[in-house]
């Protein structure tokens, strides 16, 4: 069978699993929300609420129907992209997510770029002299960034650079005295498109601290996986062959070993997305970044079931989809991947 054909079959099979996984996630969330001890109505209104009020809310939430009926309504609504309404202000959950998601994506993408840059340079500097001081420091860096509680690191950075030194704003996403651009929801992109340099500067100043914090926390994963793969790659036969042809070491590493070791790092990046979202969640809260995590926490505090349910289903689905896409991209680039 030709390579293209196997690749297509692989991609198709991965994509076929996606709806199945999304279905499992949404079903799990549904089951969890229903079997959990305690009545959501009690949780929202309190134990001593009026019976009529309770019944009204139960009907509004569709909880007076049988479980099977509820499940089918829920799944059919999901198919139509309807995640219900917030209990607090009747805002459609889809709109809440649409408003909050760009902020999270902007932060995550910037953090991912920073993490990649720092991680790859640390991983590369370690390989120059294996088991040397730089290498050991790089390894320690990897473990340390993993062990740092994200919100604590964020608080310390916030304290030093925003409170003590006063160089950058302490939180938020945009200077309160400027008018927020309202095109795509990505402030950096919007300001660039409208060539509004004042806005761009404001948005960047707010972005720097959270993005660097998240970037540093994630860079450890990149540097570790790159270091591991590079040292494995440098022992391979073709590297030995390039060396014996007298090519200098820098070129051997950069031109021959690095491209091969970057692919596993790409796979790691796919997996990292999941922890990225966990980390972003906590860092958003520390820096009052108005993304999806802030909304999730608000919803948790208000015990707003539909919003919690919607946000969880959407984030989990996004993560699953991204990891599948990364798998397919890696398979496309790398002919060695077995599938």
């Amino acid at each position: 069978m030709g390579r293209l054909k196997t690749l297509l079959i692989y991609s198709a099979s991965r994509l076929c699993i996606a709806p199945l996984m999304l279905w499992i996630i949404s079903t799990l969330v549904f089951i969890l929300l229903r079997i959990a001890p305690g009545d959501p109505v009690d949780a929202i209104l309190g134990n001593r609420a009026d019976l009529i009020a309770k019944d009204a809310l139960r009907e509004q939430l569709g909880l007076n129907k049988t479980l099977i009926e509820q499940y089918f309504i829920y799944i059919i609504n999901l198919f139509h992209g309807d995640l219900g309404e917030a209990l607090i202000n009747k805002e459609p959950v889809v709109e809440i997510i649409q408003k909050a998601l760009p902020a999270t994506i902007e932060l995550s993408l910037c953090a991912l770029i920073i993490a990649g840059l720092i991680g790859i340079s640390i991983g590369l500097s370690g390989i120059a002299k294996p088991e040397g001081k730089t290498d050991l420091a790089g390894r320690l860096y990897g473990i340390t960034t993993y062990a740092l509680p994200p919100f604590w690191a964020a608080m310390i950075i916030q304290f030093i650079f925003a409170v003590y030194l006063g160089w950058l704003p302490i939180g938020g996403r945009f200077p309160p005295y400027l008018v927020q651009p309202e095109q795509t929801g990505y402030f950096i992109l919007d300001s660039l498109m409208s060539r509004d340099w004042v806005n761009l500067q404001g948005a960047l100043r707010h972005l720097i601290l959270p993005a660097i914090t998240l970037g540093i926390l994630l860079s450890g994963i990149f540097s570790r996986s790159l270091r591991l793969n590079l040292s494995k790659e440098l022992k391979a036969g073709h590297i030995e062959a390039t060396r014996s042809r007298g090519i200098n070491e820098t070129r051997v590493v950069l031109a021959h070993a690095l491209p091969n070791s970057l692919l596993p790092v790409l796979t790691i990046a796919g997996i990292t997305i999941a922890s990225l979202i966990g980390g972003a969640l906590l860092i958003e809260l520390t820096f009052s970044w108005p993304g999806i995590a802030m909304r999730l926490q608000e919803a948790i505090n208000q015990r707003d079931y539909p919003v919690v349910q919607g946000i969880v289903v959407v984030i989990a689905s996004l993560v699953v989809l991204i990891s599948i896409v990364v798998d397919i991209i890696v398979a496309c680039i790398d002919p060695r991947v077995q599938y």
Partner: protein, 273 residues
């Protein structure tokens, strides 16, 4: 002494210190030499570190040092309990799924893979949100995250081992499935767990802190690093650093100790192979 031993030694030492603190501090508090972590009415609020309060006091006048020390016991208990629960659920399901194979196996693998791909924190946030606050609840919310991981490792190992010759031999001598699972598979599979257990414990400390930071997890009366840090967050803009520094540093230390131990064990095991 090589690198792996040094790493593992460092990690074990740190873990040992935390365990000592976890056991001794409640005892000393019970004897009355240390103030109760929840009593703060007699103290000034937000007092900076001084001789009376080594790490200062928080918004309610509670001693940050005592709370930070007390919380290490809470964290260790919850995390160990969560990991124990995770193993208790994940390992048997994994062995059964790997041993039986077929449709059940495929279904379980798909479900566990899906669970595995959901962000760790998100999964426990949902559970903690549903279960409400409580020490046991927090442990359950954490354990669900790790069940898929043990399942994967154990299931793959079982599927690999079950086609070995000695299992075949045992079968031909009339050993039943339970006997094979108990005598051969379980012992074979369990060896791959220690590294994962330590690394997961490190991760669990962070997730527990994350839950506390989000206002979930343990009840408010129980000192916990994450919820203390959440309380400290609102004080950071006013320049109060001591409520944030110490609990976070304690958490960092415990995670670092567990990661070093796990790292050392991993290098040790791969070297031996």
């Amino acid at each position: 002494m090589n690198l792996s031993q040094r790493l593992a030694g460092c990690g074990a030492f740190i873990l040992f210190v935390y365990m000592g603190v976890a056991i001794l501090v409640p005892l000393i508090t019970a004897l009355g030499y240390l103030p109760d972590p929840n009593s703060g009415l007699d103290n000034p609020i937000y007092a900076p570190p001084s001789f009376d309060h080594w790490c200062g006091t928080d918004r309610l006048g509670r001693d940050v040092c005592v709370r930070t020390l007390q919380a290490s016991g809470v964290a260790l208990q919850i995390v160990f309990f969560a990991i124990f629960l995770g193993v208790l659920l994940g390992v048997p399901i994994g062995i059964l799924s790997g041993y039986l194979g077929g449709g059940l196996d495929r279904c379980l693998v798909l479900i566990m893979d899906t669970l595995y791909s959901v962000p760790v924190l998100l999964l426990s946030v949902v559970l903690a949100f549903l279960l409400g606050r409580g020490i046991l609840n927090a442990a359950v919310a954490l354990c669900v995250v790790y069940v898929p991981q043990y399942f994967r490792v154990v299931r793959n190992q079982t599927a690999q081992v079950k086609s070995e010759l000695y299992i075949e031999a045992a079968k031909s001598m009339g050993a039943g499935p339970l006997w094979i699972i108990r005598k051969y598979l379980f012992r074979n599979v369990i060896t791959s767990l220690p590294v994962l257990l330590t690394l997961n414990a490190a991760d669990a400390v962070l997730v527990l802190g994350g839950l506390g930071f989000l206002g979930l997890g343990v009840p408010e009366s129980v000192p916990e690093w994450g919820s203390d840090l959440h309380m400290a967050l609102s004080a950071v803009p006013t320049g109060i650093w001591w409520t944030a520094l110490y609990p976070g540093f304690a958490m960092f230390g415990l995670v670092l100790g567990l990661s070093l131990l796990g790292e050392g064990l991993e290098i040790f095991i791969t070297d031996r192979k």
